[in-house]
Structure formats: structure tokens, C-alpha cells
Amino acid sequence: MSAVLHPTDAHGHHNEGHHHDHHPKPAGWRRWVYATNHKDIGTLYLLFSFCMLLVGGALAMLIRAELFQPGLQLMNPEMFNQLTTMHGLIMVFGAIMPAFVGVANWMIPLQIGASDMAFARMNNFSFWIMIPAAILLVSGFFMPGGAPAAGWTLYAPLTLQMGPSMDAGIFAMHLLGASSIMGSINIIVTILNMRAPGMTLMKMPMFCWTWLITAYLLIATMPVLAGAITMTLTDRHFGTTFFNPAGGGDPVMYQHIFWFFGHPEVYIMILPAFGIVSQVIPAFSRKKLFGYASMVYATASIAILSMIVWAHHMFATGMPVTGQLFFMYATMLISVPTGVKVFNWIATMWKGSMTFESAMLFAVGFLFVFTIGGFSGVILALSPIDIQLHGTYYVVAHFHYVLVAGSLFALFAGFYYWCPKWTGVMYNETRGKIHFWWSMISFNVAFFPMHFLGLAGMPRRYADYPVQFTDFNMLASIGAFAFGLAQVYFFFCVVIPAMRGKGAPVKVNNPWQDPDGKGAEGLEWEVACPAPFHTFENPPKLDATATKIIA
């Protein structure tokens, strides 16, 4: 009953009697603060990330309000830089990453037939460490000199000019990084050691596969970020000059270290999204995922390639021509496995029997808009063109196409898909559809014109701009306000009612299955809705496909 705010029938419909709780579980605040149950922790993660999405979104609204017309109407440029920086940091580290960890917490044990995550107490710690981190990060706005204003990439030596909030921000990112690493260890150990007998790796649901690979990426790269920001910290306070040329340091070295983390990071934020979409599309196409093995290999290839492309963020720093060419070729190669994934998804839809519930709408919307982001990615990969587009709104358009229409839409798809499992009630389908179309249209109104602004040469992180850029900026602002409102609507009209148990109760284990047995598959659909507090306390016996429990 984990995601239900007021559980009235906590022991209502258990299909398997032996799953009853025999010891009292903590109630009230203790249930959440002392939480060790993967479902409760998953819920905490998801709520936390939604709060951060709203905070980061509010900052974005202020940014778009200032950019609605040329001239500085609402704020000074220093404040504007604080907003863009904090918007980026909060969305990346506070909203998208924790949201995927939340879904992982909820779904991985359910999908592999494990009773819980491997390290339940560490799981609790890795969530609760994020609260002080978020407070530290956001409180920068109230420190002398305001919040960090060096961009989310925190390039040196601009970071050396920041006020005390920079140190708070660095510490916050250390904490968030530690949380991510603990979460990753937990996920890897859970997946590798706690699968139900018969669930071999190559029978595992795609969401688990993508998260397994993502977790390795996180463990490989989060310490690199920690190193870069620690060096920034010692440069600021202890007289080291890693990035300060006056002492023999190199500002560009910071960028190399940052992007060695930063590029895998963008795949950390998109691979689990691929996983969710790979669950949702087959379920509503009433088919199996096309090319399962090639999907696994493509995910692994993307992860490996993502470690050798970092300097494509740095074409304008002036690398030797061989460096430019190497990173251009490596980057273009990533489009190959990504293309394979897109083809496999479409082949899954092909000859299916599709229905378009909200989850499927968001998954197909993801496929459409993410692919557009992929095209702009290929264009940016070509370094001669990137020299024109680097640092302009084209890049802003590109990464919002893959991070908002990619990661966020996939998270929405995941929410609608698993909402009955989480809450035991069916969300309101009409409202879900309104949420989708409203988001989809306003997203494109907000971000598509940014391609044109970038081509015309409007630099990003600008508080003010030449008058010729006015039209598209106004359009983008209107779209952004509408997109922001859509998410408020989603929270109050879809999420809150579902969590309060409003809506049609789901009486079956698998609401996404037709009478003929086609539809969603997987072990999470073998337990009741909502999922009982404890599931799979004894390892289930699985059928040959590892999607059904036979005893």
C-alpha cells in the first residue's frame, strides 16, 4: 500500500496469503524516516524529485519571463545567471536522477522477484542524505552574493569568483553524488544477486537491464565529478591552482574532467528512460519487445561509447585537429546503437494491436520527440557545424528535447503505467490524456523555436538579446509557461488524487492485460494492486520465460 496516503484497506486484497505482515510496521512519520521498505523509499524518491521538478520549473518560468522581450524588466543579469545555473543543477541532480532511482527502487525488486533491495538501510540513507543536500543547494539564493551563477557546468575560473553559496553547492553535489553511488551499488547488488531462480540475465526486463548498465556508469563517473568540484573547492580556499593559470593551472582541464563525468551523465539520465519505454511499448502493442538481445547490446554499446565522447562539448575550446576529428567520429557512432533502439521500438509497434492509454501516449511521444533530439544531436556532432552552434540556443533546444521530451516524458509514461501497481487505483484517463497533449504541444512551442534562435546565433545564458531575436523568444516563453502549468495540473489532478486513493480501484493483478492474455508482462503484474507492503518474501517459482509465477 506504499504510495497510498490514507490506506484504508491495508490488508484488503492479497492474492497470496503467505505475504501477510506478521510484525507491525511503523506508522506515522517513523514509517518514512526509518523506511527500509523499497516501495516506501521509492515513493519518497519520487515525491522528492517532483518537488525539485517544481522548484527547478519555477526558476525556468522566471528565466522565460525575463526573456519574454529584450531589455531587463524583472531582474539584473547576475540574478539571471543564478537562475539558469540553479535550474540546471536542480533539474539534473534533484529531479531527473532521483526520479529514476525512485522508479528503480519501486520496480526492480518487483520485476526480478526479490523481496527488497539488497541493502535496505543504505537505501534509507541514500534517500535521506539528499534532503540536506537539496536544502544546501537551494539555500544558496539566501547567502551573501546569491546562488552560484557559473552555469550548471561550473566552469573554472568563473567558479573562483563566486560567493559562499558555491561552497554550499559543491558540498550539496558531494552529498547527492554519494547518494547516487550508494543507490547504484544497491541496484547492482540487487540485480546480480537477488533475481528469482530461473530469471537469467537475458530474461530480465529491459528496465532492469538499462538500470544495471546505468548504475555502472554512475559508479564510474560520479567520483570523477566529485574530484573536479573538490579541486574547485581547494582552488577557492586552500591556494591550490589546479584550474588557475596564474599558478600554472589549466581552466580547460576542468572541462575535460567535468565532461568525462558529464557526458556519461546524460546517458545516466536517458538509459533508464529507454528501459521504461521498452516496457511500455510492448505492453500496449500487445507484443513482445522486438530484438530484446540487440536492445541489451545497444544499451551496453551506448554506455561504453558514452565514456569516449566527452570532448564534443569542448569543440570551441580549440583542440588539435586530431582531437576534434576523434571526438566527432566517436560521437557520431553513438547514433548507431541509438538508432537500433528506435528501430526496435518501431518494429515492436509494427503489426501490433495498439491502444493509446496515457502511458502509451507518453511512450510514443517520447519516441517521436526524442528522435528529433537525436537528429539535432547528429548535427551537433559534426564539429564544423558545432563551431557555429556551440553555446547557442540550438544546444539548449537539443538537450531539452532529449532531457524533457526524453527522460521526463519516459518518467511520465512510467508513472501512468505503474500507477495502478503503486496506488491500487486507476488514474483518470481523460486527465492523463489532457496532460499528455497539453505537455506535448506546449513543449514543442517552447523548445522548437530555440533551434532557429541557435542557428541565428543567439548565445545561451543571455539575460538580454538583440531585438531581432524577440519573436521566437516570445513564442518560447509562451510555450514554457503553458508547459509549466501542465505539470502543476498533472500533480494536482492526477498524482494527488491517485495517492489519496481516488479513482476506480484495481481489482486484478494486471490491469494492462486483455482477456486473451495479451498486454503487459512481468513479475510486477503477478502481485496485487497496490503491491503489498512485502512481496516475494519467498523466491517465486517462474515459468520458462521468467514472466509468470507458477508456484
Binding site: A150, G318, I379, P384, I385, I387, Y462
Partner: protein
């Protein structure tokens, strides 16, 4: 709830469109800079920029074809293979050649795109055999141009955004009243001859900046402590505009780049005129100035160099320290001379690139403006000595600074 929000949204959109209608109209395209509702890269003024546009079209074409195929299949399936039209799900065979095929074909397409891109990239990186070499230095927040080699060698000047336009930004001037070259007008543009290979060497004084001119197809970060280079050969006379493209602090949006491309004859004339002007302007650092002249000169320097941070009222703000009533400004001469020459706390940069006369003038100005009435005069000669390490000593009369002046 949903309908209410939608209607609110519609009202808001209507109001915004009304503002928009008022804003548009006056604005027209800026030749060499952005155009209204521009949909593609800038009109090229160099061969490299033309090649970039061509490459962009090729890749856009390939992406468009792929998009038509991929989205075509997707939307066909969405329309035809849906339950509501009675389509039954059929599992497809998964022969290996399918997966190999749609790995290999994109790979070949990617190779096909990489080949022409490589050619352009190699050409862009070839900065040898230039006719003119200009060092571009990024400052917070202006550009410095030094003619290092070629015709005009020895010229150097600073290029700053038009002060009136910066004021318009702060005043939130409505778009309709903004000039066509809003945020793109500078006092001293970079001037180069047409059809000559110009090598640009970039570096920076404080943080990373980036030198971009879209019409030339160039963008090169200016990195403190390091030099990087790029090049262009403009094939059309005209004025071309760009902006700083690497976040460099508060005034990032207010340090435009303007390049004037002149015919060879006009360029030669310009060089001669500039060299004469420079010779005439060169201040004798040993001249002894009177207070009123130094104040007039100092105000000019303050307005172009200091005002962005310290403000017209000398009060600064946030991390920017006030000058009005500051202990260091009111204290003995050496205190403030150290600050302007060496910078302070990482926030105040060093201004040693200014001339001795400018430094003496601006220090004298701040010491005797607003409520500061020290009566102290700093002469250029004192800066000459200070650069050699000999600062004026804090004598009794000078050191009337309040306690804590060394803070």
C-alpha cells in the same frame, strides 16, 4: 480544473500577443548580424561559413529522409495497427540480418557524413600563412584587440558595448524603442581588410570568454593563461556582428563583437589614421596634471571601465565593494593603487592594461567624487614608479584613513 486552466492560459496568451503586436514592427534585419525570424545560419561572408551551411543542408537532408522513413513507419503503425481498427497483434520473426542491417546502414550513413565534415574541419584548423594576426583578449566584459603582425602592427585598443544601449537594457526599454543594432554596437570595432587571411589569437584576462562571428563561421574560446587561434578570410566588405558565447559572469550578454571589413585601400587609410591618432593620444606619463583635467579624464575612464560593477553612484552592490566612502579609496594613495594594479579578492580584476594616465585619472576621480573629498591627486608618474614596484609611501597627511583601512 482543466478547462479553467486552459481558459486562463488563453487569456494570458491573448495578453502576451497584444504586447507582441506592439513590440514588432520597428525591428528590421541587421545586415551582417541577425535577421528577424531568421530560420537558418547567418548569410556567409567567408568560404568556411559557406561550407558549414552546405554541410548543414546535407545533414539536414539526410535527417529529413530518415525522419520520413522512421516516422512514416511509426505513424502508419499507429494508424493501422491499432486495436480500435480491429488489428490483431502478430509476433514478427527476428532474423539476424534485420538487426545487422539496421546497424550497418546507419553506420555507413554516418561515415558518409563524416567524410565531408572532416574536410571542412581540417580547413578550419589551418591557421598558417596569415596576412594579418590580431590578438583578441577577453576581459570582464569587453574585448581587447592587439594587431600583432601585418599591416597595422602595433595598434591596440579596447572595444566596449555602447553605454547608452547598456542603460536601455537596465531601464527595461520596450522593444519598439530599441535600436536595430541593440546590444551589438561598440565604440571601437575590430577592423580588417577584405580577402586577406586574418589569424585571430585568443586569450583572456580573467575567466573564459568565447569569440564568435557567425557570418565568418568562427567561434574560439578565449582562455586565461593560454592562447588558441582561429582564422577567417572575409570575402565581402561590410560590418559583421557576434557576441560572447561562453558564460563569463554578470555582463556576459553585454560584450558584443563587431568586425568591420574594409577594402584594402580603405583599410590602409584607416591604419594610417589610427596610427596618427595613437601617436597624438599617447600620453606623456611624466606630464604633471592639474586636478580638474585629471577629474574630467578620470570620469571618462570610470564610465567605460568601472561603472558596470561599481555603478554610477559608486555604491557597488552584492559582492562588488562600494567606492563611495571606502576606506581604501579614502586612505593613502598606495592602497588603491595596489588594488587597481593587482586586483583584489578575485572579484576585482587587475587593470594594469590601462595606461598610467588613465589609471592615475580614475584613481584621482574616485578619490574626489561623490562624498569622497580627499583632495589627493595621483599623477601618472606615480603609476610608472608603482609598476616598477615603488609605491608612494603612506605619509602622515595621506594616511588620514580611518582605522581598518588595510582591511
Amino acid at each position: 480544473m482543466s478547462t479553467k486552466s486552459t481558459s486562463l492560459y488563453q487569456k494570458a496568451a491573448a495578453a502576451l500577443l497584444a504586447v507582441y503586436a506592439g513590440a514588432a514592427g520597428a525591428v528590421t534585419d541587421l545586415p551582417g548580424g541577425p535577421a528577424v525570424m531568421q530560420l537558418n545560419l547567418d548569410n556567409p561572408a567567408t568560404r568556411i561559413a559557406s561550407e558549414q551551411i552546405w554541410l548543414h543542408w546535407v545533414v539536414m537532408g539526410i535527417c529529413a529522409v530518415i525522419a520520413v522513413i522512421v516516422f512514416g513507419a511509426m505513424f502508419y503503425a499507429i494508424l493501422k495497427h491499432r486495436k480500435s481498427v480491429g488489428h490483431q497483434a502478430q509476433e514478427l520473426p527476428e532474423p539476424l540480418w534485420v538487426e545487422i542491417g539496421w546497424t550497418l546502414v546507419p553506420f555507413l550513413i554516418v561515415v558518409g557524413m563524416a567524410l565531408p565534415a572532416t574536410k571542412v574541419m581540417v580547413a578550419m584548423k589551418d591557421t598558417t600563412n596569415s596576412d594579418l594576426t590580431v590578438k583578441v583578449t577577453g576581459y570582464q566584459w569587453k574585448w581587447g584587440y592587439d594587431y600583432l603582425r601585418g599591416e597595422g602592427e602595433g595598434l591596440k585598443y579596447i572595444s566596449t558595448l555602447d553605454t547608452a544601449q547598456r542603460q536601455m537594457a537596465d531601464n527595461g526599454t520596450p522593444a519598439a524603442q530599441l535600436p536595430n543594432d541593440y546590444l551589438l554596437k561598440v565604440d571601437n570595432p575590430l577592423v580588417v581588410p577584405v580577402d586577406k587571411k586574418i589569424r585571430i589569437i585568443t586569450t583572456a584576462n580573467d575567466v573564459i570568454h568565447s569569440f564568435m562571428v557567425p557570418a565568418f563561421g568562427i567561434k574560439q574560446d578565449a582562455i586565461p593563461g593560454f592562447v588558441r587561434d582561429t582564422w577567417f578570410r572575409a570575402d565581402k566588405v561590410g560590418t559583421y556582428y557576434g557576441q560572447c558565447t561562453e558564460l563569463c559572469g554578470k555582463e556576459h550578454a553585454f560584450m558584443p563583437i563587431v568586425v568591420k571589413v574594409l577594402s584594402q585601400a580603405d583599410y590602409s587609410k584607416w591604419v594610417v589614421a589610427e596610427q596618427k591618432k595613437a601617436a597624438a593620444l599617447a600620453d606623456d606619463p611624466n606630464k604633471v596634471w592639474a586636478m580638474p583635467d585629471l577629474m574630467v579624464r578620470g570620469e571618462k575612464v570610470y564610465d567605460s571601465t568601472c561603472i558596470a560593477c561599481h555603478q554610477a553612484n559608486g555604491k557597488g552592490g552584492g559582492p562588488i565593494k562600494p567606492l563611495d566612502g571606502s576606506a581604501k579609496v579614502l586612505g593613502c594613495k598606495a592602497l588603491q593603487m595596489h588594488v587597481v594594479l593587482e586586483g583584489q579578492n578575485g572579484a576585482m580584476p587587475s587593470w594594469k592594461q590601462l595606461s598610467d594616465t588613465d589609471l592615475a585619472a580614475v584613481v584621482t576621480f574616485t578619490k574626489n567624487h561623490w562624498s569622497n573629498k580627499t583632495g589627493q591627486i595621483v599623477q601618472p608618474a606615480e603609476f610608472v614608479a608603482a609598476r616598477a614596484g615603488k609605491f608612494p609611501e603612506c605619509s602622515g597627511s595621506d594616511a588620514a584613513a580611518p582605522a581598518g583601512a588595510t582591511k
